[in-house]
């Protein structure tokens, strides 16, 4: 995505001017990527949320010193790696034998330890989510299914999808949103039920 860096920089400047909402958007965008990165470092999956939270809070506090020399995600990934390492030290554990750099971590595929789950219930939940999403996608109208598949599986930009599907970019955006909305209708109750069960136990 060509404008990713400029959008991030604009959001960073908004945060530096005191707009916390802009930081919320940065969290929305990079939370998953930071979580995956941190999960590669930590042996215990249940530690991941705490380290991710620490990472973003440290980033927020350090943002006045961020001058935009590097991309925001590169900068926050470095913070995430340092936070994960510090967490390992504080937990008196050995860091993984293989030293992972930012770019390496990005390039790595989903490894075995990334597939570990904090609890057996989370593993069951993940399996259920996978099944439900696959079912929801198969029930989508063809144009919505094609749009979401081109975006998520092929990683095409909205412009490329518009060219492929021979329709305006606005239509692509709408189709992808409607596809997500339809899938989310199956996903949200499942996650709510899980949260309710976890809360009750």
């Amino acid at each position: 995505m060509g404008n990713e860096r400029s959008i991030d920089q604009a959001l960073v400047e908004r945060v530096q001017q005191g707009d916390k909402k802009a930081f919320d958007l940065l969290v929305l965008k990079y939370q998953l990527r930071v979580s995956k990165l941190v999960a590669r470092f930590l042996r215990n999956p249940s530690d991941v949320p705490d380290v991710v939270q620490d990472t973003f809070i440290k980033a927020y506090r350090a943002l006045p010193n961020f001058r935009g020399d590097s991309a925001f995600y590169t900068w926050i990934y470095r913070i995430a790696i340092n936070t994960a390492k510090n967490h390992l030290v504080s937990m008196s554990r050995k860091s993984p034998a293989n030293s992972i750099d930012v770019q390496d971590a990005e390039d790595y595929g989903a490894s075995d330890w990334l597939k570990e789950y904090a609890t057996p219930e989370r593993k069951v939940l993940a399996d259920e989510i996978q099944v439900n999403i696959n079912q929801a996608v198969s029930q989508l109208p063809p144009d919505l299914r094609e749009a979401i598949m081109l975006r998520e599986m092929e990683g095409l930009s909205y412009e490329d999808i518009a060219t492929t599907m021979d329709c305006p970019i606005g239509t692509v955006r709408s189709r992808i949103f409607r596809a997500r909305e339809a899938i989310d209708e199956k996903l949200e109750p499942l996650l709510d039920e899980y949260s309710h069960n976890v809360g009750s136990t």
Binding site: A10, R14, Q16, D24, L25, K29, Q31, I57, F177, E181
Partner: protein
């Protein structure tokens, strides 16, 4: 925010996580007046949309289900946020950057200049050396130097040390010299003297 606006906001979030929002739309998304409940909902929606992508790519993991955006939001609400301090830090940072730019510019200007000066000095030195070597005047040597005379000429010009001695006296001195330096001779049997053989032949008539 009514249902229609809420739906538009969620659609913008959908586009935002795909980097498909332009600057104006980002501004409008930031400018919307949303409640804390709606903010939490937006966080959850974005997390689930990411989850959908991971599931479709077969990358669903425990990390895909991590959602701490609401906790981060809450933690930063209570963060003492000194806007004045922040602005000062940004200003200092910018000043440092501008000063650094000047030195960087000066360095970028001076570095090639110094390089060119060194290269020119080496070139001049080489030219001068070559010219001096090829010049006929370069044959003039210092008085104490043997110069460019060949070895044969040196030998030819060499004068005897003492011409006044007769051949017998010279031979005697030479014998004395050899006797005194016998210890340095390679052959101890002949005491350093060059062995010679006197061959006598008789012609038969």
């Amino acid at each position: 925010m009514n249902t229609n606006n809420e739906k538009q906001a969620v659609e913008k979030i959908s586009a935002y996580i795909d980097d498909a929002l332009n600057g104006d739309e980002i501004e409008s998304l930031l400018g919307e007046n949303v409640s804390a409940e709606q903010t939490d909902k937006h966080f959850s929606v974005a997390t689930r949309y990411h989850m959908v992508g991971d599931a479709l790519r077969g990358e669903l993991s425990d990390a895909s289900m991590v959602d701490v955006s609401a906790q981060i939001h809450q933690a930063l609400l209570h963060e003492s946020f000194d806007a004045v301090e922040l602005a000062r830090a940004v200003k200092t940072s910018q000043q440092t950057e501008s000063r650094f730019d000047f030195f960087a510019w000066l360095e970028s200007f001076a570095r090639p200049l110094v390089g060119m000066a060194v290269a020119a000095s080496v070139a001049v030195l080489m030219v001068v050396t070559v010219v001096q070597m090829e010049s006929p005047e370069s044959g003039q040597q210092l008085a104490s130097s043997p110069g460019n005379l060949p070895a044969a000429a040196l030998v030819a010009n060499k004068q005897p040390v003492n011409d006044s001695l007769s051949k017998e006296q010279q031979a005697a001195e030479f014998d004395t010299y050899l006797a005194e330096h016998a210890e340095f001779a390679a052959q101890d049997t002949l005491q350093g003297r060059i062995p010679y053989v006197r061959a006598v032949s008789y012609e038969a008539e």
